[in-house]
Amino acid sequence: MVIRFKFKKFGPVVYIGHLDIMRFFQKAIRRSGIDAAYTEGFSPHLKLSFAQPLSVGVETDGDYFDLEMNSLPDMENIVKIMNDQCVDGIEVLNATLLDDDTVNGMSSVKAADYIYYFEDLSDDLDLINRFFSQDSFIFEYVRKDKVKTKDLMEDIYEYKILGDNEMLVKVNASSAGNLKADVVTEALEKYGVSAKCLKFKRHDLYTTNENNEFVSLRDQGKVYD
């Protein structure tokens, strides 16, 4: 029995790193008193796995962790039970009782949506449309003192202009080809887009179904809000 929790993170707690977020949820789960499963041995641990780490400083509306259970809690109230143990800035949005054959979040993640906020996009719309319509865009960038080269168009799946200052981009988030969200803004800037990106946040995570269509990690079982 596995429950998948979707959570958001905002405000000052975005500066808390992935490891501390894991520790935070471990404690919250223990406090909540739900009957979670533990590993055997001298130092039992919760069977808890996070779909994808999030960089320090980034907000999210759609991150996930899977928790293996011994017995099911009151699913109608599970979101409230968890939120009673959460702090300002961390909120559980819903819980999915996963279908039996679901692969765990970490190995099944294929894509992520990010929403980018700009001062004003209206003057750059043409350029942006042209950027995303390319078949190939070889981009060289530096991360952690290493030079990387990637064809971004292979890892960008979809984009959507949401308004004068918002844009959504779906990128590869698989373990093999994860594209970091800030690489996209860096590439846009290089391409000549002058609108300044103020911030971005993760919106949701996806896996794929048998028809190779993207499915939100949330929708892999019965959802409780």
């Binding site: 405000g11 707690v13 500066y15 501390d20 471990q26 223990r30 130092s43 702090v87 911030k199």
Partner: protein, 600 residues
């Protein structure tokens, strides 16, 4: 939503920004309009170190249980943020409200080790509070020091408005009430400080003057104002709110300061402890629980408590981290139950190698006990033993140092004699660690000369070569502590007011985070002593006369100087003094009337 004092850009530049944002579960937020007193509690080291400190957690909970007080926390900013704050002129802020500390009523700083002194100046300066107490105005917070190093506050006395000496639970309420009262009456800062000296345990350095003899020893303490008592008295508490199972220690080891400061010994009722353990586990979600005390094996109901905790924690999937226990059949059995013996090692703290030396320091652990404990452990499947020693104890000779190596060898030999060849899965592994002994105030060894840097090095060298000379030397690993820091710690431990300027200059020349090896810069300190024409040896190796007045003598901790002197003389003769749960040795702490053992 909560705000942050630092901008997004700054938080993304510094290492581990989570150190500066607060908002932890169980941290306390109050409405500024509803409270009278804002108190900021500071541990002058980095967040991760300070957060694990039990004392602050106790005081934080106590202060916040007062309706009129909001207690927040602050830690030392790491050097990366320190630089940014100076460049951009950002005042140091408290974690909870993210408000500047300079707007608070109180800044309380805990003094856990001498090497944090420069960090105190950093906290003051970044807070934009004048470093010297005499330069502060009505607008500045009252800066209070407390904790173990406040038992000799003199080297840092002039940076503080007052010290709270003693256990925090006793007099803080009275102090806060006085503060409110003084504010209502429109009293000045100076008037409040004067009134505060009437509370037990409060020491206001600016109101006591120290006169020195020509040789720099202390002549006398003089009250600056009429009515100020030059003897600061401390009271002891009964009430606590953590899984501290016992306060105090009955053993009377002569090198140990905590053993004298926290007298008399006070034990908690075992049923109360069980109840606390349950509610702590349920309310915190922690994965591990540990018991705190100076000498857990002396807690009378230890067996009952541990067996209960093993059952309860097993059910709740919580690990128990055992306190250091006397090694016997019971503790080995318990250890086997709660930890993987293949990975864990057994620890003994003989502190000295020879029996003669252990008698001098009154460490009631015999060679037979160590070897018998080792034998039981080897039979139980352990093959790793750690032994802790001190080098440079008073009256130590070369033979005593060599005895450290010999004791390690005996433990190794015990392994081979206990286990027949076919039962030995691995070679026995013995780790011997030595630290350098530093005489502390309020111990029988406060009269002792500390050994010099050269002596320390010779002693470490002798230990190493003697270990190398043992038959089983390949099974013995030897570690020792840095010598430079030990000398400086020794200076501050028994220092006086003349050192304030040395600390100030060292800080101004870049000394910070001295407790961290990577940051400790001995050269800066040497220069600072030289510039101020102060000889470190005056505080360390100098021989002190029996009737010398010490810088900390104006504090009355309950245990009398007469008793300490008696113990010092007995140490010189190598005479042991009994565990005070068995026989009262008349130390003076029974005047507090606390703790059931003190009445026997």
């Amino acid at each position: 939503m909560r705000k942050t004092a630092l901008s997004h850009e700054i938080l993304m530049t510094v290492d581990k920004p989570a150190r500066y944002i607060g908002g932890e579960f169980n941290s306390v937020n109050k409405n500024k309009e509803d409270i009278d007193i804002r108190f900021c509690m500071c541990f002058p080291d980095v967040y991760e170190i300070g957060m694990s400190h039990l004392g602050i957690q106790i005081l934080y909970a106590m202060f916040n249980s007062f309706e009129d007080t909001w207690c927040e926390r602050v830690y030392s900013p790491w050097p990366d943020l320190d630089k940014i704050m100076r460049d951009k002129n950002i005042p140091l802020f408290a974690l909870e409200s993210q408000d500047p500390i300079k707007d608070f009523d109180f800044l309380g700083i805990t003094l856990q080790y001498e090497m944090c002194y420069t960090n105190i100046l950093q906290v003051l300066e970044l807070s934009q509070i004048p470093i010297w107490a005499k330069d502060r105005s009505e607008e500045d917070p009252i800066v209070i020091g407390g904790g173990p190093c406040s038992y000799n506050p003199e080297p840092i006395a002039e940076f503080f408005d007052m010290f709270y000496i003693g256990e925090g639970e006793v007099s803080y309420r009275a102090l806060l009430d006085l503060y409110k009262d003084c504010k209502k009456k429109g009293y000045s800062r100076e008037e409040f400080l004067y009134e505060a000296t009437k509370i037990d345990g409060i020491y206001v350095p600016s109101l006591i003057d120290v006169r020195y003899n020509e040789d720099h020893t202390i002549k006398e303490f003089i009250p600056v104002k009429e009515g100020v008592n030059v003897k600061v008295k401390i009271k002891a508490t009964q009430d606590r709110i953590t899984l501290e199972i016992m306060r105090g220690c009955p053993r009377g080891c002569r090198f140990c300061q905590a053993g004298q400061l926290y007298r008399p010994i006070r034990t908690r009722d075992v049923e109360v402890l069980k109840e606390f353990a349950r509610s702590m586990i349920e309310n915190s979600g922690y994965e591990e629980i540990n018991l705190s005390s100076l000498s857990s094996s002396d807690y009378p109901e230890l067996k009952e408590l541990i067996l209960y905790l093993i059952d309860y924690c097993n059910e709740k999937k919580v690990n128990i981290s055992l306190p250091s226990l006397r090694i016997d059949a019971f503790s080995l059995d318990v250890m086997g139950k709660v930890q993987d013996i293949k990975k864990s090692s057994l620890t003994f703290a003989p502190e000295a190698g020879s029996q003669r030396m252990r008698n001098v320091i009154n460490k009631g652990l015999t060679e037979e006990q160590i070897l018998e404990g080792s034998r039981l452990a080897f039979l139980g499947g352990w093959n790793k033993v750690k032994l802790y020693f001190m080098l440079g104890l008073p009256f130590e000779t070369d033979e005593d140092v060599v005895a450290i190596a010999e004791l390690c060898e005996k433990v190794a030999k015990e392994y081979y004699e206990t286990l027949p060849k076919e039962q030995r899965k691995q070679r026995v592994s013995i780790t011997a660690s030595t630290s350098f002994f530093i005489p502390k105030p309020f111990t029988p060894f406060q009269w002792a000369s500390q050994f010099s840097l050269e002596d320390f090095r010779d002693k470490a060298y002798l230990t190493r070569t003697s270990i190398m000379a043992q038959l089983n030397q390949r099974s013995i690993k030897y570690n020792w502590h840095d010598t430079d820091v030990s000398v400086l710690e020794g200076v501050f431990a028994r220092g006086d007011r003349r050192l304030a300027k040395v600390i100030y200059d060292a800080y101004k020349n870049g000394a910070i985070y001295d407790a961290w090896n990577d940051y400790f810069k001995y050269d800066i300190w040497l220069k600072s002593f030289e510039d101020n024409d102060i000889d470190m040896k005056f505080y360390t190796v100098r021989k002190r006369e029996l009737d010398e007045i010490f810088p900390w003598d104006f504090i009355d901790i309950g245990v009398t100087k007469e008793y300490l002197k008696r113990e010092w003389l007995r140490a010189a003769e190598g005479k042991v003094t009994e565990n005070c749960m068995i026989k009262c040795n008349g130390c003076g702490a029974n005047k507090y009337g606390a703790g059931k053992f003190c009445f026997r």
